[in-house]
């Protein structure tokens, strides 16, 4: 297998600028790197350095101002809203700092949401979701609402949800930012297991201990890559 085959995605000279009332903020000023399938990457950098902006572009929630983001052969900048939605639903799993579960749904239903948008419903979907809930250790909480769960449990539901569509990679924006060190470890254990099973993971973090558990660390500063190192 060549390197090309293993590339999960590639960004080339990626720029993202915000235009605000005559003022332009350059959040990303030309970022380039490749990510191979199965990598486990931590993105670090000071506040305002452009980490979330980069992750939003990678997650197809946002489009670059210039530069290219090539995902499965497509340049994301040229795709329309519908196509971006489909990519988000099929190839990308999100894990957020604030969990972002839907409050009116229970654990099982929350995990199922991405499947519904792919038209996957019925008993197979139920079995899959239940299996994922068990895998993240919530087999006995299937019918609980998010408000009835701890922060760590909620984040594990969110991780199960991010896995349900069997995505190419998982994007986590400060996924452990709201958790104490014990639950942080639990979540990181989960990420590690997933990565060992072959999932590509890209996570933003401020903490060196968290970054230390990844395999590669990309540091941003003022919208540019400061360093890119493999542990």
């Amino acid at each position: 297998m060549s390197v090309e085959d293993q590339i999960a995605f590639r960004v080339e000279d990626l720029c993202r600028s915000y235009f605000l009332k005559g003022e332009t903020v350059h959040a990303l000023k030309g970022v380039s790197f490749d990510v191979l399938a199965g990598e486990y990457i931590a993105i670090m950098g000071p506040s305002g350095s452009g980490k979330s902006t980069l992750l939003n572009v990678l997650g197809c929630l946002d489009r670059p101002t210039s530069g290219r983001y090539i995902l499965a052969g497509d340049d994301v900048a040229t795709l329309n809203d519908y196509q971006l939605s489909r990519i988000r639903g099929q190839r990308i799993g999100f894990v957020f700092q604030s969990y972002n579960l839907l409050q009116q749904l229970n654990v099982l239903e929350n995990i199922k949401v991405p499947l519904q948008y792919q038209g996957l419903v019925g008993s197979e979907a139920d079995v899959l979701c239940q299996h994922l809930a068990e895998r993240v250790g919530l087999g006995n909480r299937l019918y609980h609402r998010p408000t009835e769960l701890s922060g760590g449990q909620q984040q594990r539901v969110a991780i199960a949800r991010s896995l349900v569509n069997d995505p190419y990679f998982i994007l986590a924006d400060e996924a452990t930012g709201n958790l104490d060190s014990k639950t942080t470890d639990e979540v990181l254990d989960l990420f590690e297991t997933l990565n060992n099973d072959g999932k590509t993971i890209i996570m933003i973090t401020h903490e060196d201990e968290v970054a230390a558990r990844s395999k590669r660390v990309i540091r941003l500063r003022d919208g540019l890559i400061e360093s890119d190192t493999r542990n």
Partner: protein, 440 residues
Amino acid sequence: MIFQFFQTVVLGIKSLMVQKLRAGLAALGIFIGTATVIWLVAMGEGVSFRAQQQILELGARNIIVRTKQPNEGEQDAANRVKTYGLLRADYRRIVENIPNISRAIPMRELRFELRLGDRTADAKLVGCVEDYLALNRLEMARGRWLSSRDRGKKVVVLASDTARRLFPFENPIGRTIWVGAEFYTVIGQTRDRTASAAIGGSLDSRDYNLDAYIPLKTLRQRVGDLVMKRVGGGQGFNFIGEDVELSQITVEVENIEEVDETAQIIETLLKKYHEKEDYAVVVPRELLRQAERTRTMFNVLLVVIAGISLLVGGIGIMNIMLATVTERTREIGIRRALGATRTDIISQFLIETVVLTASGGLLGVLFGLSVGPIFETLKRAVLTFSPESLPPIVQTLEPRIAPWSVVLSLAISLGVGVLFGVYPARKAAFLDPIEALRHE
């Protein structure tokens, strides 16, 4: 596909249940609007149905020629006796000149006091012929109707109320009563009969129950054409006289298609012999057509009013949905991140709106359909507390549900849901996912 739609509906209901009171209040507007359409139309249909029944009582093949007091100035005030109206000659001319009539029935009616001992009845004395019974679809309760052998004889048939006043306890058949200054023998009594439509200038509908029928010939010979009436009060009362030969001639045409044409001919015929306009030609069929037009106009009006109330309900719905979209901005962001397309978001909120309006609409229809029993109960409740407070038209009103009003109101409420749901739903779908995710 169907299952997915069903799931979206379930999701919509779930989301609505989060704010039960708010959803309920929003649906209330649609509920009231839908129920109003059905109720108003049912009331209107009830009124016009009765009006049509009354007109049909007059007979669709009939032409009614009535005496009418000519409108004239005061110059006649000195002339104490007014002579006007249809003549026996008119009757003869109609019968002789108009070929396609099956029968023509002359009639003279006037208010008259009937008396028996100290009981009196201020009745309508009707001088008529044998055919009058069949023409007006009267039925005998007891005794017999006037026959050709009774012509000129002093016999009388009492209507139900008249009989009740003079003979509250006894059987009137065979008894004699005072009609003016003469004795008449009661030979029969008619059944109660519902009133027919108002015709020819008189605003009251014709009430048959206070009648007393005597042969036309008897009326002419015994009472005469000239009737003196006492008017005014104080010192020295005044008398005015009215000299009228016939009050009405009812002409029945053989073929219903010829009614209008024959009415025209009669009108032309009468015009030749009457200087003043002291008669009116009424065609019940024409009245029916008029009633139909009135009904259509009435219905349009009701639908417009109800439509406005549904519009107001729709604005309420839109208001709620806009608030919902703002409140659930974050949910929209999450769903977009998880793969929802704009269409998915639009259908989610649109279905939610339609579920809201449809449930309001369905409940409104159910409430609307129970208009009969509910109205009846209300009416009875009001009547027990103050029997006099309801006008007779309301007392006898029976709402009639028009199927089209049910379909229409349901369609409008669904339409309102879609119409007023589109904007909030589009607003939700076109939110920037990142902004939406950041929303608190």
